[in-house]
């Protein structure tokens, strides 16, 4: 009798646990435990047939199907290039300002954050094809792409044009950067690159190496870093914009920025 009462009182606790979890996997584990205890309750109430079925179907099979179902929907896939300060690998871990923002956002939605590194020019393509939800990695507000959704700028930046010739390049498209940033840095150190336009974070990272053969010119205008959201994901876009707005209002964005750039 006491055992039954204890098990019965555990049921609403587990149900509340499963409902209140932000992380879906934990919620599913809670549900599996719920049905396991429910089957024990059935057994104590002299319904062994029901108990066996409950344990086999709910605790094993349904839990498994839920786990498969959340494998795709439970993830926030971010594609990005590696940028020092914003989003970079540190041994096994990924850190940086954008990582902090994105992981906070993923935690708020109860999703698991997955970051994939891609060359810069492939980031919008990945978003168009629906392979990722968010594009990151020092994307400039002036990006020329009408299909993807853009957030507001979260950090002001500047653009620098570097070129080997005395006359600075006039065509910007030619000097747009492609490929991975680590490759770019190597090419710079080898002196292969003729001209390119860099944002502040990349420029600061490069300026540790020798930039004396290049003429540096700061481009006019106000620029800032933004995130890209995959097309037709208006709801995610809205959620992310309001999340960024809240970070900015609460002063947390400033705190984070100071931690990485000061």
């Amino acid at each position: 009798m006491i055992v039954l009462l204890v098990l019965l009182s555990l049921l609403p606790v587990l149900a509340a646990f499963a409902l209140s979890r932000r992380r879906r996997f934990t919620a599913i584990v809670g549900m599996g435990l719920f049905s396991l205890i429910l089957s024990a309750v059935y057994l104590l109430l002299h319904a062994p047939d029901v108990a066996v079925t409950e344990a086999a179907i709910n605790a094993a099979l349904i839990t498994f199907i839920y786990i498969i179902a959340i494998r795709k929907t439970g993830r926030l896939v971010v594609v990005s290039d590696e940028i020092p300060g914003l989003l970079y690998r540190e041994g096994e871990q990924i850190s940086g300002l954008e990582q902090e923002i994105l992981s906070g956002f993923a935690r708020q939605l109860g999703l698991e954050l997955v970051i994939r590194f891609l060359p810069v020019e492939q980031v919008p393509t990945a978003l168009h094809q629906g392979e990722a939800d968010i594009g990151a990695g020092g994307i400039i507000s002036e990006i020329d792409d009408n299909k993807v959704l853009k957030t507001q700028g979260y950090l002001p930046t500047a653009l620098y044009h570097l070129s080997r010739q005395t006359k600075p390049h006039l065509k910007q498209e030619e000097s747009a950067i492609t490929g991975f940033f680590s490759d770019l840095r190597e090419e710079f150190q080898a002196g292969k690159t003729q001209a390119c336009t860099l944002d502040l974070a990349r420029f600061v990272a490069l300026s540790r190496s020798d930039l004396s053969p290049y003429t540096v010119r700061r481009l006019d205008g106000l620029f800032s870093y933004i995130f890209l959201i995959a097309p037709a994901r208006e709801r995610l876009h809205h959620q992310f914009v309001s999340y960024l707005g809240k970070l900015e209002e609460g002063g947390e964005l400033e705190k984070l920025t100071r931690r990485y750039f000061s």
Binding site: D49, V52, A60, I67
Partner: protein
């Protein structure tokens, strides 16, 4: 638009009132009867020969309920097959690297779980169990294998056309079972076979046969659900 909304509210109120009225009328006219339960309890052992009175009821007196449950399960499996076979994963979800723990425990636990499933199916007329739970337990054993070895590796061991043929053939046999006694000329549902002595392995009339067929059907259905989910939505 506004009139329509008012109309809807009036309609809903009338419906709720009618429902409450029916419930009140039902309970005020007749007390819930307990006769049927007493009849089942007194007559089931001698009529069906099953020691487990639950299975005596759901595979004999209420056989139609069980058959339609099986039909619902089959429709669900059909739905999984139909919708997932069109579904192509754009982004292949990467496989979690093989783990020695999972593999060893699959080797260790697959035979006993599978045997428990068979036991539950075959002893449904003697003790708790039956085709439904036994089939699912055996299917869960295959799930363990599929998690450890990969669904496609396990899937290759089955001959797909035979599986499909067996799946629907068994369903047809199960659905035609209640018709047979009528054709043969015995009392409907009570028995294809004589009830036998209660408590013996071979007893309970046609209940063990029903259990076995339902068990096979549920086992194949469970495997199809697991296999299709894993093949089209990515491995676990």
């Amino acid at each position: 638009m506004r009139y329509r909304r008012i109309g809807l509210i009036v309609y809903a109120t009338i419906l709720v009132c009618c429902f409450c009225g029916l419930v009140i009328a039902f309970f005020s006219y007749q007390e819930p009867t307990r006769e049927l339960g007493a009849i089942y309890l007194s007559r089931a052992p001698s009529e069906t020969g099953a020691a487990n009175i639950v299975s005596a009821i759901y595979l004999n007196y209420r056989l139609y309920d069980t058959l339609f449950e099986i039909l619902i399960f089959s429709v669900a499996v059909l739905g999984v097959r139909f919708y997932l076979s069109d579904y192509r994963e754009k982004e292949i979800v990467e496989k979690i690297p093989e783990s020695q723990i999972v593999r060893t425990s699959a080797d260790l636990f697959f035979p006993p779980i599978f045997l428990i499933g068979i036991y539950l199916t075959l002893s449904g007329h003697l003790s708790p169990g039956g085709g439904f739970s036994g089939g699912v337990v055996a299917g869960t054993a295959l799930l363990l294998c599929a998690v450890a070895l990969g669904a496609n590796t396990v899937g290759k061991r089955f001959h797909e056309p035979t599986l499909r043929w067996l799946e629907w053939g068994v369903l047809l046999v199960v659905l035609s079972l209640p018709l047979l006694p009528i054709v043969v000329g015995r009392l409907p549902f009570t028995a294809l076979l004589p009830p036998g002595t209660m408590g013996k392995v071979i007893s309970g009339g046609s209940i063990p046969i029903d259990n076995l067929l339902i068990g096979i059907r549920v086992f194949i259905g469970t495997w199809v659900i697991i296999h299709y989910f894993m093949r089209h939505r990515g491995e676990v």
